[in-house]
């Protein structure tokens, strides 16, 4: 059972092909928009070293950690490249007008 929470972001705040760090309901998240216009969100934490992903890049659907290149799928949280081995949580995102809404459990 999830509820939608406004991420405090407008679509214009997230350029296509990028991720933006934001805190929603106390949860640090990375909200991303792929080049082909899909939106997703994952926990803003790299499970390899515990630091955040926030300044990372989005390559296709892979969110890349700036420190060692580890990658997580923006839509499933699955690890796509080492060194992290533990996946992160992923949260569905939808738009209401131009407001970005994240569904949290």
């Amino acid at each position: 059972m999830t509820t939608g929470f406004a991420a405090g972001l407008r679509t214009s705040d997230v350029a296509p092909g990028t991720v933006v760090p934001v805190v929603v309901e106390g949860r640090p998240l990375c909200v991303g928009r792929t080049l082909d216009g899909r939106w997703g969100a994952i926990d803003d934490i790299c499970t390899h070293d515990g630091g955040d992903l926030g300044d990372g890049e989005l390559d296709g659907n892979a969110v890349e950690c700036p420190r060692h290149g580890g990658r997580f799928d923006l839509f499933t949280g699955r690890v796509l490249a080492l060194p992290p081995v533990i996946p992160v949580n992923a949260y569905p995102v939808h738009l209401e007008g131009d407001a970005v809404v994240v569904e949290l459990p």
Partner: protein
């Protein structure tokens, strides 16, 4: 002994591996130093797809941004701008036999290396003439569906599988040297073994006719599909001479469910080389990954073959031998990350330091929470043969799960005078006795090497001992 000028050696026409097109040769100007243009040029000359060019450039940016590591060996003398990042086959043939250092020529003689192989090892000859042997092996592999090519060729011939796995085990930004390799890589092996296929013959680097066998920035990718097995061997116990002083290879290995891979390396680079390598494997459920790592040469080697145990009951082993003579530092070891329950690992490291040499074991055993039933044993033994030699052990452990059994033991010792005396009283010279003791010390690992390597290793140790004792 003078040999014909190798620059006159003919480069075979119709060379399969792409970039010895005579037209291109005349266009290319060899220069030292690294820049985005050099990276782009390397990619362009190889005719790579855009995604690889983009990845190389991104990796170059990471390389520039990252500082050098502050731990490990002394890398202060490496000048990244004083290196050729792109060397063609003919450029490589510029070395002459006269340039090959004495100690290497003498070792070849003592080890009884055949003439043709000497030239090859010294980078003097054009290429090792194993064409006939190679073709027969190639036919057998094709029948099994095994892909075994140079990495350059695999990129163009098998783009989907290449792109699926390349950079997923060691991403471009993993560390500074991996970033460098991702930017300028050339050569190396690509192996794909289909499900259930067992490759009986160890695959060796020189089965691919490719003069980048001793490439500076090799990139190897091995994928063993479910239930398959393969053994890959690279290197040679006889010393390899090269003027290229920085070798920074990357090896990525994926061992799928129930598969088994062994990767054996014997490195004996001449003593002007910095050998900084990143090697990592992932092993899934019931898979087995074994690194057999022999470090005999180079001025400084920093190499920690790693295994990520990602599936239940996966097993990883690292068997490491390091030998450091005067002016050498072998900083090696192994890392195992237990990221699934009931995984097991074994690291065995044997190191020998003599003269003013230094060996360091550096390793990590990490157990993530939830990985119950993990078992790991690390055993490091070091033999110090001289007063001025040095040995260090840095075994890291991060254990975050209760239901595990993790242990590490290490010893440091010297060749006992009683042992020596006993053997000498049997009629051996001091050097012979010392060699026997040292060979006994490394025997558990040497017995895992292919026969011809084991034999050469023992003879090499004998040679080294003649300088060691007394």
């Amino acid at each position: 002994m003078a040999l014909p000028n190798p620059a006159l050696d003919k480069v075979p026409t119709g060379y399969k591996y792409g970039w010895n097109d005579p037209e291109m040769k005349s266009l290319h100007v060899m220069k030292k130093g690294l820049s985005a243009q050099v990276v782009e040029e390397i990619s362009r000359i190889k005719g790579e797809p855009q995604w690889m060019t983009d990845l190389r450039l991104k990796a170059y940016r990471h390389f520039e941004a990252r500082p050098m590591p502050t731990w490990g060996g002394d890398m202060s003398q490496i000048d990244f701008q004083d290196i050729y990042y792109y060397v063609t086959a003919t450029d490589k043939a510029v070395q002459s036999w006269d340039d090959v250092p004495d100690y290497i020529r003498r070792t070849y003689d003592r080890l009884g290396i055949p003439e043709a192989e000497k030239k090859y090892l010294a980078g003097v000859g054009g290429q090792y003439d194993s064409e006939v042997v190679y073709h027969n092996i190639r036919a057998d592999l094709e029948k099994l569906g095994v892909i075994f090519l140079g990495t350059d060729e695999a990129l163009t011939k098998y783009p989907e599988i290449f792109k699926e796995y390349f950079g997923t085990v060691i991403p471009a930004n993993d560390n500074k040297l991996a970033a460098l390799n991702t930017a300028v890589w050339s050569g190396g092996s690509f192996i794909y073994v289909p499900k259930g296929v067992h490759v009986e013959l160890p695959l060796q680097a020189y089965f691919r006719i490719n003069t980048e066998n001793m490439g500076q920035f090799e990139r190897t990718l091995i994928i063993a599909d479910e239930g398959s097995s393969v053994h890959y061997v690279e290197g040679c116990t006889a010393p390899a001479y090269t003027t290229a002083s920085l070798h920074s290879a990357v090896v990525e290995i994926i061992v799928k469910k129930g598969a088994r891979v062994r990767y054996t390396t014997i490195q004996n680079w001449s003593h002007n080389v910095y050998n900084l390598v990143t090697k990592r494997a992932v092993a899934y459920e019931d898979a087995v990954m074994e690194w057999v790592d022999g470090n005999l040469g180079s001025h400084l080697t920093m190499k920690y073959p790693s295994i990520y145990l990602l599936g239940e009951r996966a097993h990883g082993e690292v068997l490491s031998i390091a030998f450091a003579g005067s002016d050498q530092h072998q900083d090696a070891g192994g890392k195992v990350i237990h990221a699934a329950p009931n995984t097991t690992s074994l690291i065995t490291s044997k190191s020998i330091s003599q003269g003013t040499g230094r060996t360091s074991y550096r390793g990590l055993i990490k157990v993530y929470p939830g990985c119950h039933g993990a078992k790991s044993t690390v055993r490091c033994d070091a033999l110090i043969l001289s007063d001025e030699a040095r040995s260090d052990t840095y075994p890291y452990m991060e254990i975050d799960e209760e239901d595990v059994t993790i242990g590490h033991e290490a010893t440091v010792s010297k060749v006992g005078s009683e042992q020596l005396f006993y053997l000498m009283s049997r009629g051996m010279s001091e050097a012979e006795a010392a060699a026997m003791i040292v060979n006994g010390f490394i025997e558990p690992i040497v017995k895992e090497l292919p026969m011809e390597y084991a034999v050469e290793m023992n003879r090499l140790i004998q040679l080294q001992m003649e300088g060691a004792v007394g």
